[in-house]
Symmetry: C2
Subunit: 352 residues, 2 copies
């Protein structure tokens, strides 16, 4: 697919920056040859690398700044003191209409704080959420929030459902994604007040999303639904638990193949199949944590991502823009607000 689109890059963010960022941008040009890049960062470091990348050079402009946000910086400090940082200037390029999306592999907390400040929230959305992809038995699914909000109320969860719906429509190309609320059981009475109230709101006639109901932890990898909605505390722990478990399985497998001569011989034949499995579980394939709910498109690449991972994160940002993510979420909000409450007005007043 070809797309005329301008992407602002925080060239200084990420463990292997700036080289990894530039190589990622070059890789992204293969899939999106008409993309244009605004490169924010230290020109003295960028220029020598760019000199060896003629294709990327033709599609990009360097915007020099000597300042950057470190991985250790607290979000509040970065927000106050990092006004000339590569991360902030890249975000501001979106706020000012000079770019259509921003991608950074830098400090997540700082990126979230700056993006929230500079881009503002979409009308009707109270808090941003971090979303990401998961490999599943049926393909891939989207989960949010993965850590932006440690505590979430009913409205936050309902808004996350709409954001996840719009995201999976625009990036996964789903026509009517199914939405599940993560809980400790599938029965209506399970869970805390926030998830129960959010479920009853999403079940209302006229709900803008196709609500499946409650899902449990094992439903994430099973692919029971297309979008899994949860608070940032649980979501962060679930995603890291899944990563750790996949790593443990890989480690057990490696150990098992060293165990006997027979197994080593088997590896000579089956090595390709094993590599293929590890690739399918490879987080790089699913790279890109999307900052949803903002009035602009911002994608966080994993700090340890390589060029391939960063190129995928750029791809996600482009898909969001090209497929109208922001319009989609606005439509969903309009439909949510049009729901006629099923509770009689008298009772509602009493409840207030």
């Amino acid at each position: 697919m070809s797309a005329r689109i301008t992407i602002a890059l925080d060239v200084m963010g990420g463990d292997q920056a700036p080289r990894m960022v530039l190589q990622g941008a070059e890789k992204a040009l293969v899939r999106y040859p008409e993309a244009e890049f605004l490169l924010f960062g230290d020109e003295s470091k960028i220029a020598p690398l760019l000199a060896k990348m003629p294709k990327l050079t033709r599609r990009s402009t360097i915007h020099h700044t000597a300042e950057l946000v470190t991985n250790e910086a607290k979000p509040s400090v970065a927000l106050r003191t990092g006004r000339r940082s590569s991360m902030r200037l890249a975000i501001d390029a979106v706020a000012d209409g000079k770019a259509e999306c921003v991608v950074s592999a830098g400090n997540t907390g700082a990126l979230m704080a700056m993006a929230k400040f500079s881009l503002k929230m979409l009308p009707g959305i109270d808090r941003p959420a971090i979303a990401s992809f998961f490999p599943t038995m049926r393909g891939e699914s989207v989960m949010l929030d993965l850590g932006a909000n440690v505590e979430c109320d009913t409205d936050n969860l309902v808004q996350f459902a709409l954001m996840g719906d719009a995201f999976s429509r625009s990036v996964l190309g789903l026509v009517q994604p199914t939405i599940g609320l993560l809980n400790v059981g599938s029965e209506e009475l399970k869970g805390n007040d926030a998830v129960r109230a959010a479920a009853s709101k999403l079940r209302e006639p006229g709900s803008p999303v196709k609500f499946y109901g409650f899902v449990e932890g094992n439903d994430i990898a099973a692919g029971t639904v297309d979008v899994i909605v949860t608070d940032g505390f649980t979501g962060n722990i679930a995603v890291k638990t899944a990563e750790g478990t996949a790593r443990l399985f890989g480690e057990f497998l490696r150990a098992a193949f060293k165990y006997s001569l027979l197994a080593r011989i088997g590896y000579l034949f089956a090595g390709g199949a094993l590599r293929k499995t590890r690739e399918r579980m490879d987080p790089r394939r699913y790279n890109g944590a999307m900052l949803l709910g903002l009035n602009g498109i911002a994608v966080k690449s994993h700090g340890g991502a390589d060029a391939l991972g960063f190129a995928n994160a750029i791809g996600v940002a482009i898909d969001m823009k090209v497929n109208g993510f922001l319009d989609q979420i606005r439509d969903d909000m309009t439909r949510l607000n049009a729901i006629k409450p099923s509770v009689p007005p008298a009772q509602q007043t009493a409840a207030l």
Copy 2:
């Protein structure tokens, strides 16, 4: 190890009950030849099966009851109407001092409600927690709460830490287990109020446990600590997410081996190594969800467990008894209560 101990069994609980329960008890006799079993359940179903198990017959007594708790029963209903059920009578045998521990593969919620009612809580413990084992890079660890309490306050989390400490000492044989609190980051300021306050309490000089600090989701499988403490909502979702991810990895692996002729040949050689890996990840090896915090020992076997899994659950109950779990937790409570608050009294009053 040989142990003179009497175990009450809910013979009617579990998908494959009563056969699976009896076969599990027979298997357990191999490791614990001096164990005695009180078998609660329908004698007309138990007797014919037992007739073919001479070893188990010699070590057990049938206590007939025609009533049982179904998997679908609500805990409150089971508690009210199930006074003559096999589950309740098995628990009561521990409360009455006729048995030293109880094992059931039945309805978890009902087991928890009945055990709490009949056994009561240990002095100083407000709420029971469900604990289980996890395979890790370094062996195995213990995690709690896995779903008994959807919402937990600071005191609950601190008490869970003590319960996990006592449990891993008595069952895993650890001299000084390390305790981690599950959180979204390792920095002191991360997380919600309950986990931050619990951490500061566990860090106090004189704390009865060796507190490592906060751990993240990926630390579970990494084996960073011996005991992972969390609330029942997060814990339930984390354990099910890990199960689902392990199943997904196994599925991807199976698919990869079907992919090419070469891989199929490889499987002929490496099949043993792969089976070994799946075995290491097999939840049956880690069977037994312990109901901790009660004034008595109660172990829940997985409802879908087979005889081997049920035998393991019996083994855990025996280890808890023989290695003095209840005394250990009482010691920890005494040490916790002896901590002199590090906050000056004036400030404390202000905080109230």
